[in-house]
């Protein structure tokens, strides 16, 4: 743990060129600064923090381009970083090198409400964009749990999504075009260099090659995003189920009744326990295996009618049911879901919640089976764990809770995570639905993709022959 790898210092010429590009204030070299750039939100980097050799804070495309050219010339690894709220080690150095902090490139350049699009820099925080869009009655829908702190550049690089993906899809669906600095330092604009079109099939869709490439193929410096109207209001139906299977049936029944909820969230019995501990007034029934929270959105009368229809459909399967189409009441019910990520930490006194094995996705039909299997694995290793997730697309977040001073537990949780990932693949699913690969899931890439992995590696070699950009991630060549 916390091993420091000794590295040859960076060439003095590189440092002085960086100083020319960024000035003294935005070029950081102290050990203290390097320590604070050695992690993201992943469990992996808590265990094995990795320091870069130097960090720079960029303010413009020109600076980014100059920095990449320099790295390419001297073959120094370069790691682009937004807010480092990721859970995969994706924005952390693996080989020293330069940390390129893009969080200050955070200007909203244009809100073109007539054409339903916005042009922004990559460091804009998801929630800040949505606050700016609100007066226009517009929204940027992809909504990861970290919306209050994650940068949109990071969302694009990881193709993030969140609870409303079941209705609104993922980040990919909202990127119309982007400006990218390639590993050579050249700057291109994809999605039509001068276009403001909302649809285009002209040429290879390079923007979509970049989306989800986790900063291994280029650095996004500007984004043209598609916007949607902001729903007027929303409604919530919260219901409990004696058995996991009946929760699954309820979801099926809702879909086949023609309803399109904007979110369907599941919480298992441990999560129910945890939320009750944090907010006793929510008073969720404890003897049940699952709670589902449905959200619908739209115009007022539409929402009321959807809530009523939903209620009728799920009533047959549920033991308890609460609902509302009144904003304050909805907010209260929604708290059950909102708090769960933090609440699971309460399951074990003195423990903390680990973000690992946290993002698997399986076909909806295999959800109950998968949930039971995860609990079997957790029990085998003696780990307490709450499971919640986006049941509408089969995406599960497992939250193991461990005591950091208990070494056996720390080892067991890693074995457990390994088994959960294998389970996901066995269930015809994937190891990651919305968080990304980074360092932590690189080892599953070959199993998940087979020969397609060679195509990915060939693309990487073509665009980044010196392997400068974010090396050591996604099982691409070293």
């Amino acid at each position: 743990m916390n091993e420091t790898i000794e590295r040859a210092p960076l060439d003095e010429k590189v440092i002085s060129r960086l100083r020319e590009i960024f000035g003294v204030e935005r070029l950081l070299t102290s050990q203290t600064d390097m320590m604070t750039y050695s992690y993201d939100a992943s469990f992996e980097t808590q265990l094995n923090p990795q320091k870069p050799q130097v960090a720079v804070i960029a303010l413009s495309t020109h600076e980014v381009s100059e920095c990449v050219k320099l790295a390419n010339e001297y073959k120094v690894p370069l790691y682009p970083r937004g807010a480092a709220t990721g859970q995969t080690g994706g924005a952390v150095s693996t080989k020293g090198g330069i940390m390129l902090d893009l969080s200050r490139m955070n200007r909203i350049l244009e809100i073109d409400h007539q054409n339903m699009q916005a042009i922004i820099e990559p460091g804009v925080i998801q929630n800040d964009l949505n606050l700016a869009l609100k007066p226009y009655g517009l929204q940027f829908p992809p909504d990861p749990g970290s919306a209050n702190m994650c940068t949109i550049g990071g969302m694009v690089s990881n193709n993030s999504s969140g609870l409303r993906a079941v209705k609104y899809g993922v980040t990919r669906h909202y990127v119309l075009g982007m400006e990218v600095v390639l590993p050579t330092g050249d700057v291109i604009v994809t999605g039509g260099a001068k276009s403001k079109a909302l649809k285009s099939v002209s040429g290879y869709d390079l923007a979509h090659l970049m989306i989800g490439s986790e900063g291994t193929l280029g650095i996004v410096t500007r984004l043209r995003l598609k916007l949607l109207p902001l729903p007027v209001t929303r409604g919530i139906v919260l219901c409990s189920f004696e058995r996991l299977e009946s929760a699954g049936e309820a979801v099926n029944a809702v879909f086949s009744s023609g309803l399109q909820p904007s979110a369907i969230e599941i919480m298992d019995f441990n999560c129910i326990k945890a939320v009750n501990m944090m907010k006793p007034e929510l008073n969720l029934p404890v003897d049940n295996e699952a709670v589902l929270v449905f959200e619908v959105d739209g115009a007022k009368e539409e929402v009321t009618s959807q809530v009523n229809r939903l209620k009728k459909v799920v009533e047959k399967y549920a033991t308890h049911l609460k609902f509302s189409d009144e904003p304050n009441e909805c907010e209260k019910l929604w708290q059950a879901r909102k708090l769960v990520g933090a609440a699971v930490g309460l399951l074990k006194p003195g423990g903390f919640r680990v973000y690992a094995g946290e993002d698997i996705c399986v076909p909806i039909s295999r959800l109950p089976e998968t949930l039971r299997e995860i609990h079997n694995i957790a029990e085998k290793y003696g780990i307490v764990c709450g499971i919640y997730g986006h049941v509408g697309d089969g995406n599960m977040h497992t939250g193991p809770v461990v005591n950091s001073s208990n070494e056996v537990e720390m080892e067991n949780v890693q074995k457990m995570v390994e088994e959960i990932h294998q389970l996901a693949i066995r269930m015809e699913g994937t190891t990651t639905a919305e968080h990304g690969v980074g360092i932590v899931r690189a080892k599953y890439m070959d199993v998940e993709h087979g020969p397609a992995m060679e195509v990915m590696r060939a693309i990487k070699r073509t665009l980044d022959p010196n392997n400068i950009l974010n090396p050591g991630k996604m099982a691409l060549p070293n």
Binding site: N2, S30, Q31, T32, T45, Q46, D101, R104, S146, N148
Partner: protein
Amino acid sequence: MKVLTPEQSMMTCVRCGACRNVCPTLNITGREADGPRGRVLMARSMLTGEIPVNQEIKDQLDRCLLCSACVDACPMDVQIPDIVMLAKEQIAAATEAGTYHQPGVKLNTTHNDIKKTPAPLRSVRDFMFEKVLSDQKNLNQVGNLLWFYQKSGLQSLTRSLGILKFFPEQMRQMERIMPEILPPSKRKPHMEFTPRANRKKEPKGRVAFFQGCIMDVMFRRTNDNSIKLLSKTGFDVVTPKDQGCCGALHHHSGKKDKTIELAKANIKAFEKAGVDYIITNAGGCGAALVEYVDLFRDDPAWLERAKVFSSKIRDISEIVHEKGELPETSGKGERVTYQPSCHLQYVMKVKDAPVKLVKTIPNTEYMELPDKKYCCGSAGIYNILQPDLANKILDQKMEKVKQTDSAVLITSNPGCYLQMKLGLHREGMEAEIETKHVVDYLVESIERAEKQGH
């Protein structure tokens, strides 16, 4: 009471980054070490002995405003300011003992020369904390001196003689924005009991007023207005004579024994008052009073008394909004905006009571201050210790104030009040924008309506 101690809570940080988007210093520099997550890691690495105490970390931690915005944003309730404080105490102790340099620890040894505070400065500081702030009589003497300084022509004399140029720029500016001190004759002790203004109505409650130390000397008018506002909104007000300083400044300087002594004195004084609520008009003091419980974790007898005391603390805007009955008010047709006090919004969790009250005033237009979540940079004596960063924070704040095009900038804490005045002074906008405590603004609006009614 906080569930976890700072030592426990620093271990629960999962580095999710939820604190990133609310931190005023991170917002200025973008440097991870200037954000809460970086600070927790630095403090924790030092406190667990992973790395030795060193100047680099001290300098970084000194940049924290301790505004608590990060605690409010944290899903795990990590007590960042407490953790930073704990680390700073350790640094101070190590500096005094000369043990900051641990031989054999391989890290950065280029900065192992922690600078001690010069001895004369230390004794002045200790004298301030021990003798002046803790004793209302002595503080009143200082108030008399300040009043004399302002009224005797000494102020204009020192200004014209240019003596002030020997002081740092920050202190010179502070001297200029110092509020006008009331003469000793108008700073007599408050009435011990002030009944509700309208005796025909049932009281809204029996409350005690916490007058504060500096507040009662430098902002006496606001204190008088606070008692008036409580009375006019239907409360019977007790102002206990033997109350004292809340101890916040002592606590923030690591003087825990003195803090506990002051806390006990206040708990005793207010127990005697027999009231439903204890009211403060300074977010900084209110937050300290709410946190008294944490001082007595290991003292069961006092813990119970502290719990009762802390549970009664309310901000004046909160109590007036929730339980009081605001009489008729009238504005001047002006536009106003509000910069919240961090301790009020993040520690006491009073987010919009002042705004809700102001919005009820007819003929006053309220405009929200963009980015009001960020601390103004006052934070005790931060602007004297970290002038560069504090000025950048303040300049950005003033940019936002300008955007609202308001005539009045409302605050809810004396530190914020002074900082806003300083900001407006620096921008040369004192003439266009007036700074006002929300209590003064409300009382003026009530009295305006009373006059119009006659």
